[in-house]
Amino acid sequence: MQDQHTDGFDLDPALNELASALGRLEPATPSGDRDAMLFELGRANGRRAARRVTWCTSLASVLLAVLVTVPVLRLLDTASHVSGQPSVASGPASDAKERSAMQSRVGAMDPPGARSDEPVVLVSSAPAPSSVFVLRQRVLRDGVDALPEASPSGLPTRNLRPGDNLIDRPTDRAPFERPRLFGPTTPGEPS
């Protein structure tokens, strides 16, 4: 087994002979043979691969769970912010005529078994943006006269539904006169 070159070192020839004689001794063969060793190698490799697969599967499961849970939680959160709690507004209509008119308008939307004297449940939602902006423009242009009339009791005169036209409602009030803040006052007017 031992090669004869001495890598640049000078060794006594007698010691070289001894080394050669020792080299002729064959070390004992290990108990396992080649096939047994290869079998053990394969088994160790398989065990390692199985551990790796298990680890990868666990990681993938956790990732998928997170990927599914986060969007669902976000959706639920957004939905609760948008819808809020449903509000109930009830009150007598101002007169029978108006009530019947409103019922005829909303009748198509009511479920078939709904009673007419039941309070209408309104889901509070923002009015259509176009109406709000149009109303705002009108208020800016014409003053507060453009606002719809409020009921004297503070209660709505009828149940409002999303999409009701709040702008073109007829008003029976006299047009609002702007107080004159500047300019000449008439002699009889109190200042």
Binding site: M1, Q2, L22, L25, A28, T29, L41, A49
Partner: protein, 175 residues
């Protein structure tokens, strides 16, 4: 996934495992030495690429594995002293051997651990002095000195052994 051809692994095992096992037996017993050698081949199989010098790499791994198995210095020392005297014979006895296998094992066991390591690596491992030095973690000159000193010690012991045996032989011849 194996990057090294299993056929190559098998060939290496057949070629190097006896000397690797003999090397590991400096620190652990015969059974543990076989385990250490097998572990070294498992580690070799896990390498992504073949080491540049496979034999030297295997001897280093076997050394580390065997030393880590001893766990304590005292246990290591006990194994160093007991090597060649206990367990299965480290050499296979053949009729054409110039030196008796059991005598050689016994004399090796009496050597200093570092000298014995250098001799095993060089004689049965077939490593160059560069690789012997790298495996032992010493300089090339130190590795050579240990090898030379070990061989000198072996020669002296062999001479002593022959002188001790000669009178017996001569006595028996006279009879």
């Amino acid at each position: 996934m194996t990057w090294i051809d299993p056929t190559k692994l098998g060939d290496w095992y057949e070629a190097f495992s006896p000397s690797l096992s003999l090397y590991a037996r400096q620190w652990v017993d015969a059974v543990a030495a076989d385990d250490v050698v097998q572990d070294a081949f498992v580690q070799l199989m896990r390498q992504r690429s073949e080491p540049v010098h496979v034999k030297a790499w295997l001897f280093r791994v076997v050394r580390n594995g065997a030393i880590s198995r001893t766990r304590s210095r005292r246990r290591r020392r006990r194994y160093e002293l007991a090597v060649g005297q206990a367990g299965a014979a480290p050499f296979e006895s053949r009729p054409d051997d110039l030196i008796d296998a059991r005598l050689a094992a016994s004399l090796l066991g009496e050597l200093d651990g570092e000298q014995r390591e250098a001799i095993v690596l060089r004689v049965w491992g077939g490593l160059s002095f560069d690789d012997v030095a790298a495996t032992m973690g010493v300089s090339k000159a130190t590795a050579f000195r240990r090898y030379e000193a070990g061989l000198n010690a072996l020669r002296k012991r062999l001479e002593t052994s022959c002188k001790t045996n000669t009178p017996t032989d001569s006595t028996s011849t006279r009879r």
